[in-house]
């Protein structure tokens, strides 16, 4: 009676992430619960209790300790997965820098949630965007399916480049959204994700040290090496996303252009709002407005060249930021202005603070904003629209 393909399961975004973790067979997973991430941890512990995951699960007393355990485990050559959200991610902050400096290959899932104070559980991307200078690769997911697929791709990426990767999806609209998800076969994932074999690792039989005190020049060199690794991310993730597409029919790029050819106005955003924007774009096209969507999937490192190529020649870009950086405005807005600075045929760039604190953003809202701001004078500051 069910016309749906058999491989589809009804899963929440968070449980899709747990499935991805299970398929990637991490050696170690230090985890600490926090709303709205907790279902990821719960499902992983269920898998573990049932014998379906052989991972060593650690449940330390805080997220700070969880990230410390991730770093140590990764440096022994173990495949490492963890998950957190909001306050938990912020508590890890010190160690997020450490994890990159030590060139670990940790894959972490973060559920985007408003940071306190005041206390809230609502979708807002400030928690992860506030980590943008730590050097973690950052990807933003629109759907439970994309979250599952991206975790698997991130292990390939992180373990190849020795850069930790943080994948993000919005609280509730993705984390708790139950929908049909294709869970790939274990054999497919085993073939796609090679074993983790770092060149250097902690080994009691080898006399070497990680994170020892160094001179200025060595610290400086560590950053240049990090920059060189960052330069490889965009091409590498493109390649990995296409390889995944060849296996599953679901291909991924650092940026996705939806109806951008011939567009006069392009909405630029990240995460769950992209889905709503697609509806708005189709409606606008039906009304004769040549609108498109530019979805930013890879936020760190920022795919500068790809963004410039995508936006060059388009008259108007409207950035929707579900975050607010006090004193600055919308973070994606700031990044886009910087990327397009000095470019010929750059669009006028409007920045809208839309959905900050988890406020609802409907397709109708987006349609109205596009119509209004396409004709409006550009302000340098991001605008509150709700």
């Amino acid at each position: 009676m069910n016309k749906m393909p058999n491989s589809l399961q009804l899963l929440s975004g968070n449980h899709a992430v747990s499935w991805a973790a299970r398929l990637c067979k991490p050696d170690v997973a230090p985890l600490y619960p926090i709303t709205p991430q907790t279902p990821i941890l719960e499902k992983i512990t269920e898998f573990h209790a049932a014998g379906a995951m052989k991972t060593e699960l650690l449940t330390p007393e805080s997220e700070h300790s969880a990230m410390s355990a991730c770093i140590s485990a990764s440096l022994t050559g173990a495949r490492v997965f963890t998950a957190t959200s909001s306050q938990g991610l912020l508590l890890m902050h010190e160690l997020l820098h450490y994890a990159v400096g030590a060139r670990t290959a940790i894959v972490m899932f973060n559920v985007n949630r408003t940071p306190a104070s005041p206390w809230g559980f609502w979708p807002d991307q400030l928690d992860s965007l506030a980590q943008r200078d730590t050097g973690w690769i950052q990807l933003y997911s629109e759907t439970p399916q994309e979250s599952l697929d991206t975790v698997i791709q991130s292990f390939v990426l992180s373990e190849k480049l020795n850069l930790p990767c943080m994948i993000n999806h919005d609280a509730f609209y993705v984390s708790h959204s139950v929908e049909p998800v294709d869970v790939p076969d274990q054999g497919l994932v085993d073939g796609f994700l090679p074993p983790f074999a770092p060149e250097h690792m902690l080994d009691t039989n080898v006399g070497s040290s990680f994170g020892a005190p160094i001179d200025q020049a060595t610290w400086n060199r560590s950053r240049k090496e990090m920059a060189a690794a960052n330069d490889l991310v965009c091409d590498e993730i493109t390649k990995i996303g296409r390889e995944w597409g060849a296996l599953t029919g679901r291909s991924y790029e650092p940026l996705e252009k939806y109806r951008c050819d011939d567009a006069e106005v392009v909405v630029v955003t990240m995460g769950s709002m992209c889905g709503t924007a697609r509806e708005a774009i189709d409606d606008l096209r039906n009304q004769g407005i040549q609108a498109g969507l530019l979805k930013v999937r890879l936020f760190r490192p920022l795919p500068k060249q790809a963004l410039q190529d995508a936006l060059r020649g388009i008259p108007c870009a409207i950035v929707l930021d579900r975050n607010y950086s006090p004193g600055t405005g919308g973070i994606l807005h700031q990044e886009l202005k910087s990327v397009m600075y000095g470019q010929e045929n750059a669009p006028k760039i409007h920045g809208l603070l839309a959905g900050v604190g988890g406020l609802n953003v409907s397709a109708e809202n987006i349609r109205d904003w596009v119509k209004k701001y396409q004709k409006a004078k550009v302000e340098p500051e991001s605008q509150w629209v709700e």
């Binding site: 009676m1 509730f172 049909p180 709503t276 609802n360």
Partner: protein, 182 residues
């Protein structure tokens, strides 16, 4: 696209009801999206479960602003604020021991009172009302297929499978009898 809202208090089963209803639509071949939002993350505070079902993949990720079906687990939550998501054509099933007339003051709405607690009790389900409420809700929505709904309940109930299904059927029959023409 069909849009449904379920409102309850944390611990009452609104989120579970949303998931079971979504599974029934999925089993009959529809794309679904259901998510619960809660402000308090503790028992007793309001929980809203949103459900969309459609013949094509669902892309929109925003709140439901106008639902064609609303299920309310607790009559103390059925107020003007919740009814902002309804219009005069929406079907609103509410768990209550009060008569239909008690809700007349709320305005021109199709409110269907169902005594979920009484139905649950007489089917040996104690205070667990979600199977009964789903039965009543499906009777009024005429969707998803009732046999599929019962199969989903039977398959997913952690305990008292036959009592859960009996409670669902009892509420379905009683609601059709009392309000089938509403």
């Amino acid at each position: 696209m069909r849009e449904i809202l379920i409102l309850g208090r944390g611990g009452q089963g609104a989120q579970t009801a949303g998931n079971l209803l979504a599974r029934a639509f999925f089993e009959q071949g529809q794309y679904v999206q259901t998510f619960a939002t809660y402000g308090g993350a503790r028992r007793g505070t309001p929980v809203v479960s949103s459900l969309r079902a459609d013949d094509k993949p669902i892309r929109v990720r925003s709140n439901i602003e106008l639902a064609s079906g609303l299920l309310c687990f607790d009559d103390s939550l059925l107020d003007a604020n919740f009814l902002r998501s309804a219009n005069k054509d929406s079907i609103i099933v509410v768990n209550t021991s009060k008569p239909h007339a008690a809700f007349a003051g709320l305005g021109d709405f199709r409110i269907v009172p169902v005594d979920g607690k009484a139905i649950a009790r007489r089917n040996d389900m104690g205070k667990v009302v979600n199977s009964a409420l789903l039965g009543a809700f499906v009777a009024m929505l005429k969707q998803p297929d009732f046999e599929i709904m019962c199969d989903v309940i039977k398959e997913t109930a952690p305990a008292k499978k036959s009592e859960n299904v009996a409670s669902c059927k009892d509420a379905y029959d009683a609601t059709l009898k009392n309000f089938g023409g509403v």
